[in-house]
Symmetry: C2
Subunit: 317 residues, 2 copies
């Protein structure tokens, strides 16, 4: 089956569609890190994004791409993470319901965040099958449209806008991006391909959840089985659409140790004085492990999000 | 004895002197907080300042105000906090030695930070008398000039520049500032007096270290005795020069509970996604306790610093 890959115009449309509904987030630098690694690092701060993560880009783009008829019965997804909050917020902006299927063991802080954005939650057993089955039931009862967290044309197009904003300010030699389901990675790869094709896109992944790297090497999607990493945003397997793009336009996928993720978290908190979630620290972990040659180069790093359970923060740093 | 208070020209000179040696830090806003308190809050992010706190302003101004002869033998202070790092950094910028007297029980992270900036440390017993005595010895052995953390004309002038930067961007009705020794507070009060005199300056202080409020009410400096607060930057007693200014130009000093400081810390981390130290959260704690009437007003809040021992962060939030 041929997969429909977003074109340049789709990315430009996404950027226009979401411009006044998300933040054009700041890009920070760290003298300390630049000196230490003899490089120029530019951190795109999606932790400051609406709802605390890049996910707002794709969710807003997907929700506002719907026709009035399509949108009329609302949107739905299963997610216990940042996509749930982002979709609930995007739906509220459009004044339509968002039905969110969440596992009954989801952290209270995530449940509260979705509710605060007006999301309508249906709880289910924490297994993937139960989540999918419950979502099917919700879709059929409500007539809502499913907005998948990453295996969705408009979501991928929306995630591309983070890199587009980077290119409007700097021309990096490399972009380092964390990879989970592949939405941000594939969007970033498309943005580089269409707007600054000399920029190499490098994906960074926890070694304990290295399905993307294994899939990349094998040329087919290898599902994630019992991944065990503190980077809880990167547990999912690659989506079909993201994988088609990743195969074509991503230069490499490197993996990092858990200890490096913690060390990277600590550097970001101590030196840059900003709050990020563990998934966002994975690219800097790759820098710490010297998995990428940065000497004398300009490298952009997407800090993907800042939603962290503060009660557990000492497990992460 | 008449105290020599910095004039408008001294503040302008300070701003010019330090401009290319410190950050003009960003001002952040929070939709969540503005809605919750029906106000407009503007957070001046001195946690992003060089060496992690506003202290760099005063330290750089003091060090670069010295004549070549005065500076030739270096500078000295006793401090276990942000002034120590800031002074070490400022001295390194001028290529002169910084002698820092620190208590032998100072946190390892603070000692390491001072060393990283090239500070020459002399350890002493943790009592104030021992610190002062050791500093006197260091001064007499080295011929260095003492740069007091707050009871210093050029330090106060330098601290005033944070508020001056605020006034260049917005015209707040109020400024909320934490108070310890009074350097930031008195500098802010002078800046308001000279540049936007309708702005009311409100000091915020932990109830468990309320010597500034008691001094303010009594009209004379009442030393801090066994203060016990997580806001470790606010333990010191008021300085003579700051107090003269505070008496004249500060509208009020309000106090807050420890639990409110923790709650404010959590809001800043969770909602604004930035790292601050407990002292910096004290003004927002005053907002949470509704100690200041902000309805319909514009209020600037100085987030004074971001140097926190991450190993202890769960004690603070």
């Amino acid at each position: 089956m041929a997969v429909n890959i977003p074109q340049k115009k789709d990315l430009l449309n996404a950027a226009g569609r979401i411009a006044n509904k998300i933040h054009n987030t700041p890009i920070l630098t760290s003298e300390y890190l630049n000196k230490r690694f003899n490089t120029q690092l530019f951190f795109k701060c999606e932790n400051f994004q609406k709802a605390g993560a890049f996910k707002s880009r794709g969710a807003v783009n997907a929700v506002f791409s719907l026709t009035s008829v399509e949108a009329s019965k609302g949107v739905a997804t299963h997610s216990s993470g940042n996509h749930a909050q982002a979709l609930a917020r995007a739906a509220r902006l459009r004044n339509i319901p968002a039905y969110i299927v969440m596992p009954e063991n989801a952290p209270q802080v995530k449940v509260a965040a979705v509710k605060a954005y007006g999301g309508i939650i249906t709880f289910c057993k924490p297994m993937l099958k139960a989540r999918e089955q419950t979502l099917r039931e919700v879709l059929s009862e409500t007539g809502a449209i499913e907005i998948h967290p990453y295996d969705n044309f408009q979501v991928v197009s929306g995630q591309a806008t983070a890199a587009m904003e980077i290119f409007n300010k700097i021309s990096p030699d490399l972009i380092l991006v964390p990879v989970g389901g592949g939405g941000l990675l594939s969007g970033t790869a498309l943005a580089a391909h269409y707007f600054l094709s000399r920029t190499e896109v490098i994906a960074c992944e926890p070694k304990e959840a290295d399905d993307a790297r294994r899939s990349f090497l094998a040329g087919r999607i290898i599902p994630s089985v019992n991944p065990d990493t503190i980077a809880d945003g990167l547990l999912t397997s690659l989506g079909v659409l993201p994988f088609e793009i990743i195969k074509k336009y991503v230069k490499d996928i490197v993996t990092v140790e858990e200890e490096s993720i913690k060390a990277a978290m600590r550097i970001i908190y101590e030196r840059m004085k900003i709050v990020v979630e563990p998934s966002a620290a994975v690219p800097l972990a790759a820098v710490l492990e010297e998995k990428v040659d940065l000497k004398g180069k300009k490298a952009a790093v997407i800090l993907s999000g800042g939603n962290i359970d503060l009660d557990k923060i000492n497990q992460y740093i």
